[in-house]
Symmetry: C2
Subunit: 173 residues, 2 copies
DNA sequence: ATTGAGTGAGTGAGTAATTACATATATTTA
DNA sequence: TAAATATATGTAATTACTCACTCACTCAAT
């Protein structure tokens, strides 16, 4: 991966995440990356291929967050770590996560399947903690965490630290 | 409002909601509405004006949902009605709501301000119900309801009826 | 006669993508 | 080692096409 390729990916990520995929032209990406437009197509085939390269590169970021939770055996810790997920997102990865949320609505590309292990782990944890409806509890908590993540990325006034500690108290973890 | 104007608005709403604002061309809207492209600009000035016309027309739909909750004096009813909000969305309004969610990410147009009366009402209700942190409780419930709404519109496998009755049991309302 | 709704070909500015061409870096050959 | 060849990396100009928007025009109802 040459330096120019990295420049292209970095520029594309920033523009796609902040202006949107459709609203960002390849010429804009090229200018932003300090590179000729043709180079984008040489390396990534087409605009869609450029997006895919960004997505697969960032896929591990999601996996890294999830594996730590799914591998946890202590049920209370599973819940606690899930609640804390939004706080563990590195600021340098903001653009990647923003892009994920944007694409869910712009191209109807979701990663529900990648979240399934988390839901399974949560269901299991709530069962061990003897909640009466573990399946719904797991579903609910993922909705909450997803919503908090969205708030953070949209720069909402919601104080994330306050909300997470409030949740940990509520779930007694 | 002539029939052709209504046709334009209806076509634009459907296309903007399902394909996205940027991804929908004005010529596509015109074709879909059975109207010349020029007519769109005569009536709505520009593409942005067309979007605004749709948004202001639909603004009352949100107001109608909220006023019923905010005017409620019984605290348990406030919580109950909030939880039931996603189920009360008429199927004929799906496109409008989908557009709302899409625009939040595509154009960073949010209606946080319009939700504030709901948050106030919820805070007040949780206070009367003697929850220890009514502000956070209100914030949390709006996040949950927002997330459930999003799931419904995205056609997720989440069973909305199950989730709402689960929540009503959880909140004892 | 005037007005306002409605038309559709036309406009320049972009759009994604391709092209022909240039340079740098290996790899092979003499 | 040095020259010759091949391959990867890059560019600028150009392609065919789409975009939001305009404009001169028609037509029906006052």
């Amino acid at each position: 991966m040459t330096e120019k390729q990295e420049n292209i990916l970095r520029a594309a990520l920033e523009l796609f995440a902040n202006e949107g995929f459709n609203a960002t032209s390849t010429s804009k990406v090229a200018k932003h990356a300090g590179v000729s437009e043709g180079l984008i197509f040489r390396h990534f085939g087409n605009k869609e291929g450029l997006l895919q390269a960004i997505l697969t590169e960032g896929e591990n970021k999601l996996k890294d967050l999830l594996v730590d939770i799914v591998m946890e055996s202590e049920p209370k810790e599973v819940v606690r770590k899930t609640i804390l997920m939004p706080t563990r997102v590195d600021a340098s990865d903001y653009n990647f996560w923003k892009l994920q949320y944007k694409l869910k609505w712009e191209l109807e590309v979701s990663n529900d399947k990648k979240m399934e292990p988390l839901i399974m782990a949560l269901t299991n944890a709530f069962q061990k903690l003897e909640y009466s409806d573990p399946v719904m509890e797991a579903e609910l908590l993922t909705i909450i965490v997803d919503g908090i993540g969205a708030s953070v990325l949209k720069g909402s006034k919601l104080e994330i630290g306050q909300m997470t500690s409030f949740l940990m108290k509520k779930y007694k973890v």
